[in-house]
C-alpha cells in the first residue's frame, strides 16, 4: 500500500488512490437511512434487497442504541436478482401491513436492488394504485441509498430529504413554526434541542426525531412499533414553516463531487423546501463549543425575534468558567478527530477554541468539502499544521498518527484499537459506540452538552496522566 504520502501535503489525497480499504471509517448508506427513518412516527423501515443487509444493519444499530430496531427486508433470492424485485416488494409490503399496521413504510434500497436498477418509486406507485381502496394504507417513502455512492452519513441525509420531499405539501399560509433538521445526533441531544427551541417558545417540527423510538423506557406491555417520532402531519406542514434551521454544513452535499450518480439533484431537506416552497433556510453547524453554539442560539434568536433565554446565557457563562478552570489540562494537547464530516467540523471547532490542536481531522466521507469547511468554520482558530483526511480508513489514520504523535483521540469506538496500540486515551463520541454503555445518552450539543464533553476530555486526560505517572498524584 502506498504510504500515506507527504504529511506536509496537509489535505490528504482522497481514498480513491487506494484500491482497498483496510478498517474503513464509515458504514453503508442504508444504515444511515434507517436511523433517519426511525425518526418518523409509526414507521416500519424496509430494505429492498437481500436479507443480510437488514440483519447486519439491525445488529449494528441495536448494539449502539440498545433498543429494539425492527427493519424488514424484501429478501431477494437469486431468482429475484434475475427477474426483478417486484413480487418480493409487494409481498413484503403486504406482510408488513398485516403484522405491524404501520402508519409509514419507509423503504431504502441496497447495493443489490440498485445494481439491478430497481425503480422503487414505480413499485410504490403501483402498489398504491392497486391498493387504493385499502383503509389505512400506510404512507410510503423511498430513499435511494446504494452504498457504492457515499457513506452512512449521506444515507441519513438522503432519507431526511426523501421524507420531506415525499410529504411536504403547501396547503395554507405560512405558519408560526420552524423546521429543525437536526443531523445524526444522539437521542439525548435531540431532547436537548427540543428543550432549547421550546424555551424560545417557537413551535417546531424537528426531524428526524428518534429521541423516543431509539431510546425508550421499559414497557409493561410490548409495543410492536414504539411511540414517538415526527408525525406525517408535521412533515406535511414543513412546507409552511417560516424558516428551516439545518444543523451541519456538509450534509449530503457529498453527492455533488461527481462520485454519485444523480449528480446535481442532491439536495438537503432544507434546500428542497427553500427551492420549492420558499421556506427561508438558516444553516449552522452542529452546536458544539461556544462559537458554534453561539451561532445556533443567535439564529434562533433572530428567527424568533426573542432574546436568548437567561437559562442559556447562564449555561454559556458556566461553560466559559469551566474552560478557564480546565484550560491548563488541555492546552496544546494534540488531538485526532474522526467520524462523520459534520461532526468532525464541529468537534474541531470546539477543540480549537479550547486550545487543543486538531492535528488530524479524518472522515470516511468524501464530500470534497471537509478541508474547505474546516478552514471556513475555524477561521482564525485554524491550526495551520492540521492534516485533513477525507475518505480515510483507520489503517491510514494510524499511519499518519504514527508521525503526528497525538495525545488524544476523539471519535467512535472503532478507533479504539489504535488508541490501545499507541497507548493514548480516547474519548468516545459519534457512531458507533459499541464498547461503552450509554451512547443513546451522549450529550454534546449546546453549552450544556459541551460542558459534559469538555469535562469528559479533561478527565480522560487526567486519568491517562495518573495511570502513567510513577507517583500517582491525586491532587491535580
Amino acid at each position: 500500500m502506498q504510504k500515506a504520502e507527504s504529511i506536509k501535503q496537509k489535505v490528504m489525497p482522497s481514498g480513491d488512490t487506494f484500491a482497498s480499504s483496510c478498517n474503513a471509517c464509515k458504514q453503508c448508506t442504508p444504515l444511515g437511512a434507517c436511523i433517519a427513518f426511525k425518526g418518523l412516527e409509526g414507521v416500519l423501515p424496509m430494505l429492498h434487497g437481500s436479507q443480510g443487509c437488514a440483519t447486519y444493519i439491525r445488529r449494528y444499530l441495536i448494539s449502539h442504541f440498545r433498543e429494539p430496531v425492527d427493519i424488514a427486508s424484501s429478501n431477494f433470492s437469486e431468482e429475484t436478482t434475475i427477474f426483478g424485485g417486484n413480487k418480493n416488494f409487494n409481498t413484503g409490503i403486504d406482510n408488513i401491513i398485516t403484522q405491524y399496521h404501520p402508519r409509514v413504510i419507509a423503504i431504502a434500497s441496497t447495493c443489490l436492488s440498485e445494481t439491478i436498477g430497481e425503480d422503487v418509486q414505480r413499485l410504490i406507485f403501483e402498489y398504491q394504485k392497486t391498493h387504493n381502496a385499502m383503509p389505512d394504507l400506510p404512507v410510503m417513502i423511498f430513499a435511494s441509498t446504494p452504498s457504492y455512492q457515499g457513506t452512512h452519513s449521506e444515507g441519513f441525509h438522503e432519507a431526511v430529504f426523501a421524507a420531506v420531499k415525499t410529504l411536504a405539501e403547501s396547503s395554507g399560509p405560512v405558519g408560526d413554526h420552524i423546521n429543525l433538521f437536526s443531523n445524526m445526533i444522539s437521542p439525548e441531544d435531540i431532547r436537548h434541542l427540543k428543550e432549547i427551541v421550546e424555551d424560545f417558545s417557537i413551535p417546531v417540527v424537528l426531524f428526524p426525531d428518534y429521541s423516543d423510538t431509539l431510546d425508550n423506557t421499559s414497557w409493561d406491555s410490548y409495543r410492536r412499533i414504539p411511540d414517538g417520532g415526527t408525525t406525517v402531519d408535521e412533515l406535511k406542514k414543513s412546507a409552511q414553516a417560516y424558516a428551516s434551521v439545518e444543523l451541519g454544513y456538509i450534509l449530503n452535499s457529498g453527492g455533488m463531487n461527481g462520485r454519485i450518480k444523480d449528480n446535481g439533484t442532491k439536495q438537503s431537506a432544507g434546500e428542497f423546501l427553500k427551492g420549492k416552497f420558499d421556506v427561508p433556510l438558516v444553516r449552522t453547524g452542529l452546536p458544539i463549543g461556544i462559537l458554534e453554539s453561539d451561532k445556533f442560539f443567535e439564529a434562533l434568536s433572530s428567527i424568533s425575534g426573542k432574546e436568548i433565554p437567561m437559562k442559556y446565557q447562564r449555561q454559556r457563562g458556566r461553560l466559559v468558567d469551566l474552560y478557564i478552570d480546565g484550560h491548563k489540562y488541555v492546552s496544546d494537547k494534540r488531538a485526532v478527530i474522526y467520524g462523520e464530516e459534520d461532526l468532525v467540523v464541529a468537534l474541531a471547532a470546539f477543540a480549537a477554541e479550547i486550545g487543543i490542536k486538531p492535528v488530524l481531522c479524518a472522515s470516511g466521507g468524501e464530500s470534497g468539502k471537509l478541508a474547505g469547511t474546516l478552514r471556513e468554520v475555524l477561521g482564525s482558530n485554524y491550526y495551520e499544521d492540521m492534516v485533513v483526511g477525507q475518505g480515510m480508513s483507520f489503517e491510514r489514520m494510524e499511519e499518519v498518527m504514527q508521525e503526528l504523535k497525538p495525545d488524544l483521540m476523539i471519535g467512535n469506538s472503532k478507533g479504539y484499537y489504535i488508541a490501545r496500540k499507541m497507548d493514548i486515551p480516547i474519548v468516545r463520541t459519534g457512531f458507533p459506540i459499541h464498547d461503552r454503555l450509554g451512547a443513546q445518552h451522549a450529550h454534546v450539543l449546546g453549552y450544556e452538552g459541551t460542558m459534559i464533553l469538555f469535562e469528559q476530555i479533561v478527565n480522560t486526560l487526567l486519568d491517562d496522566k495518573q495511570r502513567k505517572s510513577p507517583i500517582g498524584y491525586k491532587y491535580m
Partner: protein, 572 residues
C-alpha cells in the same frame, strides 16, 4: 432508571442471591407455573390467523408440537417470506463471518461495497491466541474493496487485484481469501479467476482462493457454511502431510468457533486427558492446522449444521470416521470424552479420561447444586443458530429447567429430525445454487482408520458413526418446535408464556427484555463465557442463576402503577 438498577444487580450478585433467598422471585414463578405443555397448543392458532393466507400456510409447516418418539416433519431451510422480520443473516455472513472468520493468519478480503465487510469486522466474539508475539494475526483487520460506482459499472476485478497486491505488500500473508457480496455476483466479477491470476503474479508460495458466497445465494448463513466447507476442502485441507506432535489419539474438533473462549476450554480438557487435538474448525485455528487436519484419526462434529460437509469429505477422501459430540453441558462433555476413549480403546486413555472427569466434576457438582436451588423448575426457550438451540438444552437440563420451545435460525430438517431424513429432503432452487464438489478416495493417502469389523464392533457397543439424531428427540412431547422464528412470533411467545429465560441474539435482546423477560445471548454470550466443557458449564450455571433470578424484572412497573400496591396502601 430500571436499566441502571439492573446493572447494579448484576454487579452485586451476592445481593441478588440474598434477596432471592428471601423468596423474592415469586412473581415470575406465578406466571410460569401456569404454563403447561398443553397451553402451548394455542400458540399456533394465535399467530397463524394474523398472517395472510399464503404466509400462514407456509408457517403452518414450520411450527410444530414435538414428538420425541416419531419426530414430525418440519419445514426448514426455506426462504423467509419478504416483510417477515427474521433472525437470519446472509450467505456471506455464514462463509466469511462464521467459518473462515476465526482463522487468524488468513487475510480475508471482502469484495464489495463497504457495509458487508464493515459489519462483519470483529462483531463475532471468536477469539484467537497467537502462540508467539510474532505470529501472524489479522483478526483486527477488515479488508474491503470498498466498491464505488465506477466499479459497479465497469467491473471490479481490477480493483480486487489491486487490493490483493496492497494486502500482500502490507503483510506478506501465507494466504488470502476473497469473499463475494451480492453486487459482485450481479456484475459478473469472477473472484476465482482473480485468485488464480494473483496467485501466479505474486508467487512466493502464496495461497489465494475465492468464495462465491453472495448474500442472496442461499436461504440463510447455512448456504455460506456449505460454500466455506467446500473451499476449506479444496484449498487447505491435506496440503501438509507431516505428522506433528504426539502420534497417539489424534482428533479434530469440527464446528467449534471459540466464541467467548469455548475452544480454549476444550483445548484445556483435551490436553489434560492426553488427547492430541490436531485442528479445530475453526476456533483459534491457523492455516497450518487446516492443512494438517487429515492426519487425525477421528473427527468430532460439534455444530453439525455448519461443518458436517467437511467431516463427510474427509471420511471419503482420507478414511477418517466422524462422530457427533456435544461438549456443551458438563455431562455431555464427559460423554464426549468417554466416546473418544471408547474409539481408541486404549485402557490407559480410558483411565485417564475417567480421572479427569472425576476431577472436573467436583467443582461442577458444587456449582450445579448451588444454582439448582434457584433454577430448578424454571422454563427456557431457545432460538438460535443451527446447533446451539439443541446443545444448550443440556445445560438447562443440568439446571433442572425445562425447554418449552426451541428452534433454529438456519437449521435444516436433519438438524431437527436427525440425519435419517436426509435422503427425503427436497432439493430446491436455493440449494441448487451451492456448488457440489465430488470427493473421491485420495489415491495415496486414503487410509481407513478402522476396519469395517472394528466399526461394527464399536457400533455394537453403542457408538454411533456419521449420525446425528437432531433436536427433536431431546425435547419433551408437546413442546413447541419452531423453525426460523419471526420477530412477530417471538413477541407472541413472550406475551403468551413469559419464560424465565429466552435465548437468542442481540437483535432480539432488547425486545424481549422490554417485555420483562431476561434474554441470554447465545451468539455473543453477553460478553461472557466460555460455556463449553466443564469450566464453561460452571460459568453458565452462574450466569443463568443470576439472570433468571434477578428481581429487577418485578420492578418494570413502578409501585404507583400497580393496583395491588394501591390496595395495600389502603389496607394499611
Amino acid at each position: 432508571m430500571l436499566w441502571i438498577r439492573y446493572v447494579c444487580v448484576q454487579l452485586n450478585r451476592a445481593t441478588v442471591l440474598w434477596t432471592n433467598e428471601k423468596g423474592d422471585t415469586t412473581m415470575i414463578k406465578e406466571v410460569n407455573n401456569s404454563v403447561s405443555v398443553d397451553d402451548l397448543k394455542k400458540f399456533k392458532e394465535e399467530v397463524l390467523h394474523k398472517y395472510p393466507k399464503k404466509v400462514a400456510k407456509k408457517r403452518d409447516k414450520a411450527i410444530l408440537l414435538n414428538d420425541p418418539e416419531t419426530p414430525p416433519q418440519i419445514q426448514a431451510n426455506v426462504r423467509t417470506v419478504p416483510g417477515i422480520i427474521t433472525q437470519r443473516g446472509c450467505t456471506y455472513a455464514g462463509c466469511k463471518g462464521v467459518v473462515l472468520g476465526p482463522t487468524r493468519d488468513i487475510i480475508n478480503i471482502t469484495h464489495g461495497p463497504i457495509g458487508c465487510g464493515f459489519y462483519s469486522w470483529l462483531t463475532r466474539r471468536n477469539q484467537t491466541k497467537p502462540e508467539t508475539e510474532t505470529d501472524e494475526n489479522f483478526m483486527m483487520y477488515c479488508f474491503s474493496t470498498d466498491m464505488q460506482d465506477s466499479n459497479i459499472v465497469f467491473g471490479g476485478e481490477e480493483k480486487l487485484k489491486q487490493a490483493i497486491r496492497e494486502a500482500y505488500e502490507l503483510f506478506h500473508p501465507k494466504a488470502i481469501a476473497i469473499f463475494s457480496t451480492c453486487p459482485v455476483g450481479l456484475i459478473g466479477d469472477d473472484v476465482h479467476r482473480v485468485a488464480r491470476h494473483m496467485k501466479e503474479e505474486i508467487g512466493d508460495g502464496i495461497n489465494i482462493f475465492g468464495f462465491s458466497c453472495e448474500g442472496y445465494r442461499g436461504v440463510s448463513q447455512s448456504a455460506g457454511h456449505h460454500i466455506a466447507n467446500n473451499g476449506l476442502f479444496k484449498n487447505l485441507i491435506g496440503r501438509d502431510d507431516e505428522k506433528r506432535g504426539d502420534l497417539k489419539y489424534r482428533v479434530n474438533l469440527l464446528g467449534e468457533y471459540n466464541i467467548g473462549g469455548d475452544a480454549f476450554e476444550l483445548e484445556r480438557v483435551f490436553e489434560k486427558c492426553g488427547i492430541n487435538l490436531i485442528a479445530t474448525f475453526s476456533g483459534n485455528s491457523t492455516i497450518q492446522k487446516f492443512e494438517n487436519a487429515h492426519t487425525a484419526d477421528l473427527n468430532m462434529v460439534m455444530c453439525h449444521r455448519s461443518i458436517n460437509y467437511v467431516a463427510e469429505m474427509m471420511e471419503t477422501a482420507f478414511g477418517i470416521p466422524w462422530i457427533k459430540v456435544q461438549p456443551i453441558g458438563a455431562d455431555s462433555t464427559a460423554k464426549m470424552l468417554r466416546k473418544i476413549g471408547q474409539y481408541f480403546g486404549d485402557q490407559e486413555l480410558i483411565d485417564k479420561i475417567e480421572e479427569v472427569i472425576a476431577d472436573e466434576m467436583v467443582a461442577v457438582t458444587a456449582a450445579r447444586e448451588k444454582a439448582l436451588k434457584k433454577t430448578n423448575g424454571k422454563k427456557a426457550m431457545l432460538f438460535v443458530g443451527g446447533s446451539r438451540a439443541h446443545h444448550y438444552q443440556n445445560l438447562f437440563e443440568e439446571l433442572g429447567m425445562t425447554t418449552l420451545s426451541a428452534g433454529y435460525e438456519f437449521g435444516h430438517r436433519d438438524d431437527y429430525e436427525g440425519r435419517v431424513v436426509i435422503p427425503t429432503i427436497q432439493i430446491d432452487a436455493d440449494s441448487r445454487n451451492i456448488e457440489e464438489i465430488t470427493v473421491t478416495k485420495d489415491e495415496t493417502r486414503y487410509n481407513p482408520r478402522k476396519t469395517e469389523e472394528e466399526l461394527k464392533a464399536l457400533e455394537a457397543e453403542g457408538m454411533e458413526f456419521n449420525g446425528y439424531e437432531g433436536l427433536m428427540p431431546q425435547m419433551a412431547k408437546g413442546t413447541l418446535v419452531i423453525d426460523d422464528l419471526s420477530h412477530y412470533e417471538m413477541e407472541k411467545l413472550i406475551e403468551l408464556y413469559k419464560p424465565d429465560v429466552f435465548c437468542a441474539g442481540i437483535k432480539e435482546k432488547f425486545c424481549v427484555q422490554k417485555m420483562g423477560v431476561p434474554l441470554k445471548q447465545l451468539h455473543s454470550y453477553d460478553y461472557g463465557g466460555p460455556y463449553a466443557g466443564f469450566k464453561g458449564a460452571i460459568n453458565f450455571y452462574e450466569d443463568i442463576e443470576m439472570i433468571a433470578c434477578t428481581t429487577i424484572w418485578k420492578e418494570l412497573k413502578a409501585p404507583w402503577e400497580s393496583e395491588t400496591y394501591v390496595e395495600a396502601q389502603y389496607a394499611y
